[in-house]
């Protein structure tokens, strides 16, 4: 760096005042920034419009680039696949043979399942998809885990709708603009999902940890029955997510619960499906109650 020019104001009152004013403005900027931050912490949806404008403005670039870059997304995986190719090939052939048998068994099970479902009139179990699209970008420089989806309100996307991939749950719609929507990913630390263990329906809560894993806390405290490999699926309580969507697999036990790896890694899934809310009436009723409760509180305080 060149030596700084001498910025001592000397005896000029005008120069002194202008330095003072610039500091004042700088401090004012910090204070206003802090106020905005506090507002957005207490009312996270308050500035949604501004963020939507940002997402909409950059959406054309993101959409075009994601079409081009889709193939190069897992370059690292592609390169590492060349190492140990021979032994991997042998292992995969063994796996393929065993899988073939399992597929045949699964087909038989599926047929039987369909027959039983017809008997029970349960055909409408899985809700229809509202739309399918790519995740076009994500907040990859922030600790919030949100992604932008290339669909918006014009495609019928509404706030709160669950988003899933074939592998499992990806997240839910947080903000929706005309052609883009912000998805709160499962791994976001503000995202709490009601889940249950697939094997015995043990209910628990999954909270994101911002690094591709979730914290699992059982609802019944005191016992910690989780073990590695447990599959967690959505339980359907709360009415937001349809029951039975795979969420995560337990990798490690902790003091209070477990840590589980998310199945639908947002970085790897190519397309996601937006589903309607499982029980929109339930969600609406809960929200109504909350609004009603707030109203009573404010009335009481007045």
């Amino acid at each position: 760096m060149a030596p700084p020019r001498n910025r001592r104001p000397g005896f000029s009152k005008r120069a002194q005042y202008s330095i003072f004013a610039s500091y004042l403005l700088g401090i004012l900027g910090a204070v206003v920034g802090l106020l905005l931050l506090l507002i957005s912490i207490f009312d996270p949806q308050g500035f949604a419009v501004l963020r939507t404008i940002g997402a909409e403005a950059t959406a054309p670039v993101s959409k075009t680039l994601s079409e081009v870059g889709g193939a190069t997304g897992n370059a690292g995986d592609n390169i590492s696949a060349y190492f140990n190719a021979a032994s991997k090939n042998a292992a995969m052939e063994r796996e393929l043979r065993s899988n073939r048998i399992e597929i045949l068994e699964a087909r038989a099970l599926k047929q039987e399942n369909e027959r039983l479902k017809r008997l029970l009139d349960l055909d409408k179990e899985v809700p229809d998809a509202i739309g399918m699209a790519r995740l076009i970008s994500s907040t990859s420089s922030s600790s919030r885990r949100m992604a932008t989806l290339g669909l918006g309100t014009t495609d019928g996307i509404l706030i709160g709708q669950p988003v899933r991939a074939p592998e499992g749950l990806v997240g839910r719609v947080l903000e929706a603009g005309p052609t883009t929507a912000r998805i709160l990913l499962v791994s976001d630390s503000q995202n709490v999902m009601p889940v249950k263990r697939a094997s015995d329906e043990l209910p628990a809560f999954a909270t994101g940890r911002a690094d591709g894993t979730v914290d699992i806390r059982p609802i019944n405290l005191g016992i910690n029955p989780f073990k590695g490999g447990d599959l967690l699926i959505t339980s359907g309580s709360g009415g937001l997510y349809a029951p039975g969507i795979p969420v995560a697999v337990v990798i490690r036990k902790t003091d209070t619960g477990a840590i589980a790896r998310i199945l639908a890694n947002a970085a790897k899934v190519s397309h996601v499906i937006v589903q309607p809310m499982f029980q929109a009436e339930t969600v609406a009723a809960i929200e109504q109650e909350e609004i009603g409760g707030d109203g009573i509180e404010t009335e009481g305080s007045e």
């Binding site: 910025r7 802090l34 970008s137 990859s140 420089s141 600790s143 885990r145 940890r209 690094d211 947002a266």
Partner: protein, 171 residues
């Protein structure tokens, strides 16, 4: 095609470039999140901040003290952080840098890098803590790859900004 005649002496650099190029590059840096990179943990360096720090350290005195606020607001539109976090943190960084400049001691390249690194670490850690102080305090190690990447990327960004700065003031 013949070039239009230009005077060889007494040329003026483009006022548009002089005035707006720094802000435009910072905003473009903030828009880096529009790239189709979907990651499961924070890894992408905060390019808006890196570009801003480069300008701030290459050209002390160009930015007013309050410049962190509007540029931070634009960054908040794209970063996904709670609105106001960059506006607040960048303002604090600018106040600190201004105070440092007032001491009037010449700095060399390594000290610039150190100052930029400390600013990046400060902004990234505070940015994570404002989201959820209690639970994020225990797992700041998630940020280590992002911080390292940002610090290592800073010299390259400075090079690029230096080249842009040369072009900016060229006639």
């Amino acid at each position: 095609m013949a070039k239009p005649y230009r005077s060889r002496i007494n040329r003026q650099p483009s006022q548009f470039r002089i005035k707006f190029i720094p802000s435009i590059t910072v905003i473009m840096g903030s828009m880096i999140t529009a790239l189709p990179l979907v990651t499961d943990y924070p890894i992408l360096p905060p390019m808006g901040l890196l570009v801003l720090l480069s300008w701030r350290l290459i050209r002390p005195g160009y930015w007013p003290v309050w410049a962190g606020f509007p540029l931070g607001m634009v960054d908040d539109m794209f970063s996904g952080q709670p609105f106001g976090s960059a506006a607040f943190l960048w303002s604090l960084v600018f106040l600190a840098l201004e105070t440092l400049d007032r001491r009037g001691v010449g700095r060399d390249y390594w000290q610039d890098w150190l100052i930029a690194s400390l600013s990046i670490i400060f902004v990234l850690i505070c940015g994570m803590l404002v989201i959820d102080f209690q639970s994020n305090l225990l797992r700041l190690e998630i940020l280590v790859p992002q911080i390292l990447l940002s610090i290592l990327l800073y010299p390259f960004v400075t090079r690029l900004i230096g080249a842009i700065d040369n072009w900016r003031v060229a006639v």
